[in-house]
Subunit: 424 residues, 2 copies
C-alpha cells in the first residue's frame, strides 16, 4: 500500500488494475454454436472436456436436493434462514405501488410491474460454495414472481454439487438446479436444451469465461444483470474509526481474489498508519493469506485534506462497496454520487451486506456504479406503461399531437388522431 496526497493524482488513482483481456470470443462462439445445434449432448461434451466431469443427467434430481438438508448443521440452516428473512424484507419493500397519473383531463397514465417469466442464475464453483449468491438472486426472483428460476452451477469432479448450494436453492424455491458450469451453462440457458429451459435474463458472477459468455448471450438478445469486474471496497476513515475494524474490512475484500482491489481513504496519515499496523497483524493468521497479499499489491491508502475530499475521490472511483468508517455519515451521505452499496458507521462491515443485512450483494464493480445499480427487485421485473384516453382526453391533447406528427412528417400518426377527433 502506498500513500498519496496530490489531488492531481486523483484521476490516475481511480484506474482499476488492468485485467489481461484474453480474447475468448473464438472459444465462446464455438461452444454457443455447438450447444445451439446439439443441446444437452454438446453441453455434456464441454463439461467433460473443460471440467473433467461426465454426467448422465444435467438436472439435479429432487431427492438429491431434499437430502442436502441433512448435510448442514442446524446452526448453519438457522443462519441461512435469518439471512433469507432479512433479504426478503428489504427486497419485498421495493415493490412499487402503481400510481395512476392524470396528465391532462381524460388522459391517465400508469405503470404496472410484471415478472420476467424465465430467469437464469449462475453460481460459480471453485474453492468456496457461494450459496449466499443463491439467496441474493433467488429471493428477489421469487418475490418478483418469476415462473421459472433456473440455476446452473458446476459440479465437482465426482459430479456433486455442494449441499449448502442445494439447500439454499430449495429454501428459496429455485425451480430447476443443473450441474453445469462455464460457457456451456450460459449457452444452454441462452438457447435452451432438452434439460435446461431458455431464459429471458441471466444473473450471477463468474470467471472470465462466464463473463465472456454472458456478453455473448447479451449480443444474441438475452438480457444480463450487469457487466462484471473484480470485487472492490473503498473505506473512508478518520480518527473516529476503529483501525482494527477497518483492517478486517479491507482484508475481507482482499481475500476474494488476487484481482480484488481495496482502497483506504483518510484525512490523516496517523489513521492510515494505525490501520496498516492492524492489517499486517491480521494478515498473518489469515487462511487465504496468499490471495489477500496479492490483492493488497493492487491496493492503495490515500491521505486527503478532508473527509469531503475523500468523498469526492470516492465518487470519481465509484466503488462497488463504500464503507464510511467514521461518525460523520450524516454529512457524507448527501455527497455520495457513485457507489454500489454503502456501509454506514463502524459497526456496518461489508460482510453484513455480503450475507445478511438484507441488501443485495450483486453490485456494479469496475466503476460501473457511475451508471448501474446493484441487483434489486427491479432487476427481475419489467415496468409496463399504460395510457387510457377518454373521448375528452383525445380532444384535449389530439390537436397538439396532430401538429407534432406533421412537423415530424409522420402523417399516418397524425391521421390516427384526426380520424378520432372527427368521430365526435
Amino acid at each position: 500500500m502506498k500513500t498519496y496526497l496530490n489531488p492531481k493524482d486523483w484521476l490516475r488513482l481511480t484506474e482499476r488494475p488492468s485485467v489481461k483481456k484474453s480474447n475468448l470470443n473464438k472459444l465462446v462462439n464455438e461452444v454457443f454454436k455447438a450447444v445451439k445445434k446439439d443441446g444437452d449432448k454438446a453441453a455434456k461434451k464441454f463439461s467433460a472436456q473443460f471440467d473433467g466431469v461426465e454426467l448422465k443427467s444435467l438436472q439435479v434430481n429432487s431427492k438429491t436436493i431434499a437430502n442436502a438438508n441433512k448435510q448442514l448443521s442446524p446452526a448453519l440452516k438457522k443462519a441461512i434462514k435469518l439471512a433469507k428473512q432479512n433479504i426478503e424484507k428489504f427486497h419485498a419493500a421495493q415493490n412499487e405501488e402503481s400510481k395512476r397519473i392524470e396528465t391532462t383531463p381524460g388522459v391517465t397514465c400508469w405503470r404496472e410491474s410484471r415478472p420476467i417469466e424465465k430467469v437464469g442464475i449462475y453460481i460459480p464453483g471453485g474453492t468456496a460454495p457461494l450459496f449466499s449468491t443463491v439467496l441474493m438472486l433467488g429471493i428477489p426472483a421469487k418475490i418478483a414472481g418469476c415462473k421459472e428460476i433456473i440455476l446452473c452451477t458446476p459440479p465437482n469432479k465426482k459430479g456433486e454439487i455442494d449441499p449448502t448450494i442445494l439447500y439454499a436453492a430449495s429454501l428459496v424455491g429455485i425451480t430447476s438446479v443443473n450441474s453445469i458450469g462455464g460457457i456451456q451453462a450460459i449457452a444452454a440457458m441462452s438457447y435452451g436444451t432438452k434439460s435446461i429451459e431458455q431464459v429471458d435474463k441471466i444473473f450471477g458472477p463468474g470467471n472470465q469465461y462466464v463473463t465472456a459468455a454472458k456478453q455473448m448471450a447479451q449480443s444474441i438478445g438475452i438480457a444480463i444483470d450487469m457487466p462484471a469486474g473484480p470485487s472492490e471496497v473503498l473505506v473512508i476513515a478518520d480518527e473516529t474509526c476503529n483501525p482494527s475494524f477497518v483492517a478486517a474490512d479491507l482484508l475481507s475484500q482482499a481475500e476474494h481474489g488476487a484481482d480484488s482491489q481495496v482502497i483506504l481513504c483518510a484525512d490523516d496519515d496517523k489513521v492510515v498508519n494505525k490501520v496498516l499496523i492492524e492489517l499486517k497483524k491480521q494478515l498473518k493468521v489469515l487462511p487465504r493469506k496468499t490471495i489477500a497479499t496479492a490483492a493488497l499489491k493492487n491496493s492503495k491508502a490515500i491521505v486527503f485534506k478532508s473527509l469531503k475530499d475523500c468523498m469526492l475521490f470516492s465518487n470519481a472511483y465509484a466503488p462497488e462497496h463504500l464503507i464510511l468508517a467514521n461518525d460523520k455519515a450524516n454529512k457524507l451521505i448527501p455527497l455520495i454520487t457513485n457507489a454500489g452499496s454503502v456501509f454506514v458507521g463502524n459497526y456496518s462491515c461489508e460482510s453484513a451486506g455480503d450475507y445478511a443485512s438484507g441488501t443485495n450483494h450483486t453490485l456494479p464493480t469496475n466503476g460501473f456504479a457511475k451508471a448501474y445499480s446493484g441487483v434489486s427487485l427491479d432487476s427481475f421485473v419489467k415496468k409496463i406503461t399504460f395510457q387510457e384516453l377518454t373521448k375528452n382526453g383525445i380532444e384535449n391533447i389530439g390537436p397538439s399531437i396532430e401538429l407534432m406528427a406533421e412537423a415530424e412528417q409522420l402523417f399516418a400518426h397524425k391521421n390516427a388522431v384526426t380520424i378520432r377527433l372527427k368521430n365526435k
Copy 2:
C-alpha cells in the same frame, strides 16, 4: 396481410422479419479507434466521409439554438410545451421515496437515488426531425438531475440541424448540442473529445450503424438504454373496436419504416375484414405509402378463438406497443405479461404515447419486452443501497454471518464480524 387460425402456428408467428445482419464490426472498430486517438479531428473526418458535411465546430453555439425558437409556429411551440408538461408529470411521479427498513433490530437498510452524472442522447437525422425523442430522453434526464446532458444529431449537408430539434433541446435543458451523427457520434460520447464530453450512458434510436456503435460502446463499459430493433405494434380488436381507428393505428406504425411490423389479432374474421377494407382506403392517400406498403408485407392479421387467446399470443410476441381496441380492458390487463407500452380502449391511439400522453416512447422492440422495460426516470438514476448496523444490530446478525462466511470458506469475512463482536 394473411389470416391464420391454428394455435400450432403461434411460435412461428411471433418471429420478427429477419433483419439482414451486416457485419459492421470492422467499420465500427476502425471509427472508435480513430476517435479515441484523434478526437474531434477524427470525428470531423468521418462526418465529411460518411455524411458529406464539413464542419468547423461540432458544438452548436447558443445563438443558433436561441434563434431556432423564431422558426417554429406559435401553435407548434404550444403543442411541444403541452407534451413536455405531460411527460414531466408522468416521469416526475416515478420518483420513489426512500423507505428505511429495519430488517432485524439494529439493522436498517434503505435505497437512495442518484442521477447518472453524464448522459448522451442520440437523435437520428434523416427524413423526419425526431424532436419528440429529444423530449422523451431529455425530460427524464433533467428530472433525474443529470449534470451533463449531451445531445448528438447529424446535420444536413449544409451543416444545419432542424430548428424543432434545437427548440426542443433548449426547452428541456440539454447542456450541449452537437452536429454529429453515426458511429463517430457514439464513439465521441464513449471516449470524450475536446468538444464532446465522455458520458456514462448513451440513449436513443438509430440505424444499423448507430446500433452497432452502441453495442461497441457497451462492450467498452459505457451503459446503453436498451438493444434496438425495428418498431412494431400489436392490436387486439373485437367487434367493439372502430375498424377505421384500428386501420389508422396499424398504418401509423407501418409508416415508420419498411422493416416495421404490425400485427392485428381479433376473435372474429369479420373484424379483420372490416379493418382491412379501411386499411386499403387509408393507405391510398398516405404520403409515406411506399414505406407503409413495404411494412405491411411483414405484417399479419390473425384470428383467434377468443380475446384471451389473442392476449396469450401477444404475450408470446411481446410487442413494443400493444393496443387494446376493445371494451374488455379490465379483463385483459391482468393477463398481460410482456409488452412495452399499452394503449387502453378505442381512444388511446399509439400516436398519443408517441408524443404527448406522458409515457415514454423509447420502448423495447423485437421481443425484448420479455426482459426489458421502456425508458423511465429509473433509466437516468442509480439506486444505491445503504445499511447501518448498530452495536446491537451486529450482535443480532453477526453470529449468523460468521457461520455463513465460514461455510463459504471466507475467514476474513468472518473475522470482520468476530472482531466487532469481541469489542463489546
